[in-house]
């Protein structure tokens, strides 16, 4: 059968660590998995602009404001790189946005938590972007060419995000007792939701098997989560903050940290729409989308008029 031969060639390419490009034959499941994963990734970048956007006008200095603006602009850029790479799989931008609005496509649960203080802005850069970097570095080696290239671009830009967040946390931790408390409070609230960003444990993850086999993902959720924990605990210690996990303990034998249990019930609740800010994030996105409709229409009309004038003129 033609399909079997094609599948064989496809898997041979994957096994040889070659890349799959948009016009290459690929199994429907591979395409579907990629669309689901890349679009979720893209939506996360775009929705992720909201929690930070709330702080632009309340930045504590002009320096902080310029940095925050640049960071949020980067997040928009990352969303666009990812949408473009997803579109090479044969789905349109319109459909992608529609899927976000109908809830068919998800975005990272972390962005459904509120950003209550300036320390939260720091914690997002340090922890949330830090977790994203661990994931994205691994995804640079994904088997799908356009996704891999988007990841390479994103990784180049992302490290500034993490550093600026860590700088904010370090400054607060060295400040007044109140400021330090604010920093500690931020990590207390955001630590566990950050660990959830890596997704369910491998044993409970419905999508891990094929994603690993086809090298869409190169490392499992648990492996990536562990790497993030091992890196971050030391960074917290240096600036005098505590990771809010009483069971966290260095395991010399395994050369890694053992950590406490993650509350997967909370994760499920937030994924399914019952987080503190789910409704607000989606309402905002819909509002911006609908209020921008006339701009998209006007620009399209203007472009058509220009073409007409070129032809006549």
């Amino acid at each position: 059968m033609e399909n079997e031969k094609q599948l064989e060639q496809f898997e041979a390419k994957i096994n040889a660590d070659s890349k799959i490009e948009p016009k290459d034959w690929m199994p429907e499941d591979y395409r579907k998995h990629l669309i689901r994963q890349i679009s979720q990734h893209a939506h996360s970048e775009i929705i992720g602009m909201q929690p930070e956007g709330n702080w632009i006008t309340r930045s504590p200095s002009l320096r902080a404001k310029l940095i925050l603006l640049a960071k949020i602009q980067d997040e928009a850029g990352h969303g666009l790189y990812l949408y473009s790479s997803c579109e090479t799989l044969g789905i349109s931008r319109e459909e992608l946005i529609e899927q976000l609005h109908t809830g068919k496509a998800k975005y990272s649960t972390i962005f459904n938590y509120p950003v209550l203080t300036w320390a939260d802005v720091g914690a997002i850069g340090w922890l949330v972007d830090g977790a994203a970097i661990v994931n994205q570095i691994s995804l640079q080696r994904t088997s799908y060419g356009p996704y891999s290239r988007a990841m390479v671009r994103i990784c180049k830009e992302e490290s500034f995000h993490q550093r600026q967040g860590y700088e904010i946390m370090g400054k607060l931790a060295k400040g007044t007792a109140e400021q330090k408390e604010m920093a500690q409070d931020a990590i207390n609230r955001l630590w566990w939701p950050t660990l959830m960003m890596f997704g369910p444990h491998d044993a409970d993850s419905a999508h891990t098997g094929k994603a690993m086999k086809w090298k869409i993902k190169r490392e499992t959720n648990d492996e990536l989560r562990q790497r993030f924990i091992d890196k971050t605990v030391q960074q917290a210690e240096i600036i005098g903050l505590t990771v809010p996990d009483p069971e966290l303990k260095w395991n010399a034998e395994k050369n890694k940290y053992d950590h406490g249990k993650i509350d997967w019930e909370e994760f499920k609740r937030v994924v399914n729409g019952d987080g503190p800010c789910n409704k607000k994030r989606m309402d905002n996105h819909l509002k911006a989308h609908n209020e921008g409709a006339w701009v998209r229409e006007a620009a399209t009309a203007y472009a058509a008029k220009q073409v007409k004038e070129e032809v006549v003129g």
Binding site: K23, E157, E297
Partner: protein, 98 residues
């Protein structure tokens, strides 16, 4: 809330030249209603960190791409023409600068 008629504008492919003397390289794509906005969007999206000195934007539908299924037909004929490579030729022992 129907977005059936919504348009996110046509797709353009973006090529950036990083410094003088080297070729433009494909970096990704943007959506835009016309040439001018395609250029502006490409500038905003792909050169935020001094990545380039020149940009080309091309309507994606104007690009003709080869089909992977035709690869054998297209590229096989060059595989048996080793005489197109300088290493094919045997130079006399001791000859220099050739």
């Amino acid at each position: 809330m129907s977005n059936v008629k919504d348009s996110q504008w046509p797709l353009w492919e973006v090529f950036v030249q990083a410094s003088p003397g080297i070729p433009h390289k494909h970096v990704g794509s943007v959506h835009a209603p016309d040439k001018q906005m395609a250029m502006q969007n490409a500038r905003d999206l792909y050169t935020r960190r001094s990545e380039g000195i020149s940009i080309w934007v091309v309507p994606a539908e104007a690009i003709v791409a080869s089909n992977p299924d035709d690869s054998d037909m297209l590229f096989e004929p060059s595989n048996d023409k080793v005489y197109r490579h300088p290493t094919f030729y045997v130079m006399p022992e001791g000859s220099k600068n050739i």
